[in-house]
């Protein structure tokens, strides 16, 4: 365990640095831009108002509320302080709801949807890819182009097609939402059943999209490993095929984990857009309504939460990687 300390320490420091930069960017980027969000909102609120001083008062009130009348450094510290208290400000479009309220009611939906879907898609994709690499003949000729084509369907496209096929045409799944619109979330059997039936389509659309990409990557990784010298040597030694395949799979798996860590941001982004198609009550739909409502605090909060989620997942993947890659272990014991 002692040998791992250096590796994990390094990863934790990296995690903290990226976290700080992410928060900083989330704070600075919108403020760098020439247009003043508070002025834009005041403009919307004061529409039809002929009294200039009233508009000025609205502007000042909002400035007070969002703290934009203070120097930028001070604003940043207030922002960070509020962040530590879980205070992300007040939403415009759903005034006077707190942003943290809205986020906490949608984040669980997104986590419960995306986390299992990406894991299942990743596992299935790797399995299929390894199988394709091992079987090769025939299988490769037909299935590879098909899965390549499928893997290029964007997540939202897959979502629309599943929706039209299963919900609109075959009517075996609901078209939108996370549960029946006439229900209030509770733990009754009826509600859980409704949640499960609404869960199917978004879940499978994310799974299908991630299967394609992973399978194609895993296939070429496995082929690469199957041609490696150690496999040839093992064959010379007369080691059983099954055992070799086990080694090959393990070695091909490692870059796939790194690949997952690298692409998790893109995958989450795609899945968030797919959420909009199903009007799933997660972060994606929240962000969509925030953008269409010009709800600046909500947008900045959702992006921050998504960044945080992605950072945590990449960090965890790094930690897992450290445990299963023998090279990391060896390097720490040197």
């Amino acid at each position: 365990m002692k040998g791992y300390r250096k590796y994990f320490g390094k990863k934790i420091i990296w995690f903290l640095i990226t976290l700080v930069v992410a928060v900083l960017l989330n704070f600075i980027l919108p403020r760098l831009m020439p247009n003043d969000p508070v002025a834009a909102i005041t403009g919307k609120m004061a529409q039809g108002l002929t009294d200039a001083s009233a508009a000025q008062r609205i502007y000042e009130k909002y400035q007070e509320e969002f703290g934009t009348n203070k120097p930028i450094i001070q604003q940043f510290f207030i922002f960070v302080k509020n962040l530590f208290h879980g205070d992300l400000g007040t939403s415009f479009s759903q005034y006077p709801r707190k942003v943290s309220d809205i986020i906490s009611s949608s984040i669980l939906w997104t986590i419960a949807l995306q986390f299992p879907a990406i894991i299942v898609g990743w596992l299935l994709g790797n399995l299929l890819g390894a199988l394709a690499a091992y079987i090769r003949k025939g299988f490769d000729k037909v299935l590879l182009p098909v899965s390549l084509f499928l893997s290029n369907i964007p997540a939202f496209g897959m979502a629309v097609m599943l929706l039209v096929l299963f919900a609109v045409k075959l009517k075996i799944a609901p078209t939108s939402g996370g549960y029946n619109f006439d229900m209030i979330p509770n733990f009754s059997w009826r509600f859980v059943k409704s949640v499960i039936s609404h869960y199917q389509l978004p879940f499978w659309s994310i799974v299908l999209v991630s299967i394609g990409g992973q399978a194609v990557g895993m296939r070429s990784m496995s082929i690469y490993e199957l041609n490696a010298d150690y496999v040839k040597y093992a064959r010379f030694l007369g080691i059983k095929d099954r055992k070799i395949v086990g080694y090959v799979f393990r070695n091909a798996m490692l870059p796939q984990i790194t690949g997952l860590a690298m692409s998790i941001g893109t995958m989450v982004g795609g899945a968030l857009v797919a959420e909009i198609i199903f009007s799933y009550p997660g972060l994606g739909s929240t962000m969509f309504s925030a953008i269409s409502g010009g709800d600046y605090p909500l947008i900045s909060a959702t992006t921050l939460i998504i960044t945080l989620m992605v950072l945590v997942i990449s960090f965890l993947l790094d930690i897992i990687y450290g445990f299963i890659d023998p090279r990391v272990k060896a390097a720490q014991f040197d």
Partner: protein, 415 residues
């Protein structure tokens, strides 16, 4: 160079991808030549006209007619009015007023109509039938009666003074040749929610989206290449700084940066080139990393050392001694960037942060409009399916080219 090209065009994957892409480009450039005009013109009033050929009713009245005696014309005419749903409803009605429907066949239009005419009574109020349903049957009866008479139609024209003048008498066996009608319009993919020709819009959108992909890809590849080359070759403190930045931006999802920046720019200033630029600026990290690791493996080669000893400048060494060796990787990275740039634009547009909507259509914007007007829920497949298919086809062709190149340059991956 010539040899490499020959090798590349031997890869079936690359060739297929290349042909699809070139085919798409050909359509994009040739189609507007034959169908000029602004793709954002709203030709239709009303939303989501079905795909098909539209014939001007006005012109066909004055077109020379030809009498054709087709045996099934009357049946077809009735069948068109009487949908399957209506047939079921008729039988339901007959059952409701306790008529014996035993042996009545749904597909037998004549028998069905006979039973209907014999039994329908407007004044009847069958049990359990709502007013809306009774009204439905009234409408159905009216449309059946007007079809059923099979008489001639007389078209009159109203001249400016308000006087009506008989124009034409249309019998049930009069036909016009579509070629003789002055105005017909073939809408292959119908119209969208604003009444715009979807095919024309799609061709223009594909062009803009590919342009966005190319700009984004060029910007991303250029930044990634520059940073990767410097960081890999110069090393030291510069390498540390560049890698620090690169590592941070690899983990922070570019999707989020894209949203933040696009939102901050604001709808009015977000033209297609600006969106492309922003996408490029947020997606260079992957290229920078892989270029750097390639350069590190190259920088101590003999020819590079020789060049350095000869006192060649940094730029010259990078351009003539290192770049040619990594060119294939750069091209491959570029292709992937183009494809992910197109996808990024589509996703941004779906979120409502795409290019401004007044200038040119993009694939993402078309998708966004279709979704906002619930094309997927009201059965207007032509408004979104061609868009999804085009995005998929573009990125499929690019990825196929990439895979082909990968196999040419990485012999271990060859089939």
């Amino acid at each position: 160079m010539k040899n490499t090209l020959r090798q590349i065009f031997h890869s079936s994957k690359f060739v297929v991808g290349f042909l699809i892409f070139v085919g798409l480009l050909a359509v994009i450039f040739i189609y507007p030549v034959f169908h000029p005009g602004n793709p954002l013109d709203m030709i239709g009033v009303g939303t989501f006209a079905k795909p098909g050929t539209y014939v001007s009713l006005y012109d066909s009245v004055t077109t020379q007619t030809q009498v054709l005696k087709l045996p099934e014309a009357a049946d077809k005419r009735l069948a068109k009015v009487l949908s399957d749903e209506d047939r079921v409803k008729i039988v339901n009605y007959l059952t409701a007023i306790e008529v014996d429907v035993e042996g009545l066949d749904y597909s037998d239009t004549d028998a069905l109509l006979e039973a209907w005419r014999a039994n329908y009574d407007e004044s009847l109020k069958p049990k359990g039938m709502t007013k809306a349903e009774r009204n439905y049957y009234k409408r159905l009866n009216n449309s059946l009666n007007s079809m059923g008479s099979q008489g001639e139609m007389i078209v009159t024209e109203k001249d400016p003074s308000g006087e009506e003048k008989q124009m034409a008498v249309i019998g049930t066996e009069d036909y016009v040749n579509v070629k003789d009608v002055a105005n017909t319009k073939n809408l292959v993919f119908g119209t969208d929610n604003f009444g715009r020709d979807v095919l024309k819009e799609l061709v223009s959108a594909a062009k803009t989206s590919i342009q966005i992909g190319l700009i984004a890809g060029t910007v991303a590849t250029f930044i990634g290449l520059l940073l990767g080359l410097l960081s890999g070759y110069v090393g030291g403190l510069l390498d540390d700084i560049i890698m620090f930045i690169t590592n941070i931006f690899t983990v922070i999802p570019s999707f989020v940066l894209l949203i933040l920046i696009s939102y901050s720019i604001g709808q009015d200033k977000r033209g297609a080139p600006v969106v492309a630029l922003v996408i490029g600026l947020t997606s260079w990290t992957w290229t920078a990393r892989s270029v750097r690791s390639q350069v590190i493996s190259l920088r101590n080669r003999d020819h590079v050392n020789l060049s350095r000893l000869s006192g060649h400048s940094l730029g010259r060494i990078l351009l003539t001694d290192i770049l040619p060796y990594i060119a294939s990787y750069v091209v491959m990275a570029f292709i992937l960037q183009v494809s992910s740039g197109i996808l990024a634009e589509a996703q941004l547009s779906l979120l409502g942060l795409g290019p401004k909507t007044t200038e040119v259509p993009t694939l993402g914007l078309m998708m966004n409009w279709a979704m906002l007007y619930s094309a997927h829920l009201n059965g207007s497949w032509w408004a979104y399916f061609p868009v999804i298919f085009t995005i998929t086809l573009i990125s499929f062709s690019l990825n196929l080219m990439n895979t082909g190149l990968d196999q040419v340059f990485n012999p271990t991956l060859r089939d």
